[in-house]
């Protein structure tokens, strides 16, 4: 895709560590810490929700190998594996990717968060909201299955996923 940093990166041999048919392991030039490695699908998918599951699985498995390699070769004391999925999560490249970040004590990188105190009610409501969404999703899947798997999913026009829209605008 035009102007996509990761799609463009595919042309830059010096940044690509390895690639499979579907997935690329690369060293970006914009990083949190030196030694950071990025794993992303070759095909342009904006967010995780759009990446086919087999490709997604391969991405994380390769990220895990990269994590081990970083740990053993760069003298790091740990690694973080991070996916920023969607604008709200600070995703700044409109192409899904996994970051593997080498860590050292006192490297100055703060990847912790302040625990957010929640009331019992909030917790209860959140749990219910998630559980019923999962239930609905399961019901939808069943219904779809009964209709015959080959039929296209019913379209609801005019409703675009906000994330896709906003990411495309940036692309």
């Amino acid at each position: 895709m035009d102007n996509c940093e990761y799609c463009g990166l595919l042309q830059r041999d010096w940044q690509i560590v390895a690639s499979s048919e579907d997935v690329v392991i690369a060293v970006k030039d914009k990083v949190a810490v030196l030694g950071q490695i990025t794993i992303f699908p070759k095909e342009h998918f904006t967010i995780m929700e759009l990446v086919p599951e087999p490709v997604l699985q391969q991405c994380l498995i390769l990220a895990n190998k990269a994590s081990t390699a970083i740990f053993e070769t760069l003298g790091s004391q740990g690694t973080n594996v991070l996916i920023r999925n969607g604008l709200g999560a600070g995703q700044d490249v409109p192409h899904f990717g996994i970051e593997v970040i080498p860590r050292k004590e006192d490297d100055g990188l703060n990847l912790r968060w302040e625990p957010r105190p929640l009331s019992e009610d909030e917790i209860e409501m959140t749990q219910q909201a998630l559980l019923s969404a999962i239930f609905e999703a399961e019901k939808g899947r069943q219904a779809q299955h009964n209709q015959g798997a080959d039929k296209p999913i019913l379209q609801e026009k005019g409703r675009t996923n906000y994330l896709i829209k906003s990411l495309r605008r940036r692309a």
């Binding site: 048919e21 087999p54 390699a69 495309r168």
Partner: protein, 268 residues
Amino acid sequence: MEDAKQMTEDQIKLLQEKMKQMSPAELAEFQKQQCLFCKIISGAISSKKIYEDQVCLAVLDIAPASIGHLLIIPREHYSIMPQVPDEVLGHIMVIAKRLSQIMLKALRASGTTVFAANGGAAGQRSQHFVLHLIPRKEGDHVLDFPEKIIPKGLVEKVKAAVEGRLFELIGVKRAVSPASLEADSNASGPKNRSSEQPELALAKSKKASRAKPERKDIILSKRKVNSAKANYPKTKVKSTKKNLTKQKEASTANAEDIKLDDIANLFK
């Protein structure tokens, strides 16, 4: 587990003595018994469960970064991610994706952060590998960090430093894992290629579901992979820009077709 719950000081001393004499395997077993997440899995400690299957479960974090912050916990005890077998990791990734879809919809999140910490220096606080799934909203400043541009020379240095070991790690798999010929007809025998960027002979889906027959979760993840494959065309996105990279994909759906509801339908 019950022993650990009601220990007197004498018992603790006795245990410490015992631990010194334990073999690494016994010690690992003992650590499992002490692990908070293993207790959550066994039900000894209560939790707000959102999802569970044979391989993992997802619970609400008790010290969340945001409302709906989930932990995806493998049932098996692994201290860090590198210990997690590919099959389990692949399964957890799929669950994370599906739960992420659920979050975007049910919690009106405008993004999700998937996060794992390996080692104390990386901020890991538990002895049990967990994958964090954090619903996000713009401007919430969870996990914000500055980035810098590094020169080409350093990029090349990093590449040179890690590639050898990385190839070893993947190369081992290359010998074991079947090539993805079945999945893609134009795969031209990646094993025989001798380009500067070695193609990793990772099977498209077999990679994640590579059989290890004694485990039932593998069968599960294989099933998931297969079903994911079947659903693949529905989740394809088509770029409206002129240069479609994959024109050959006749099944490319319009981006307008993709709604969270549809994607969530894949949830099993």
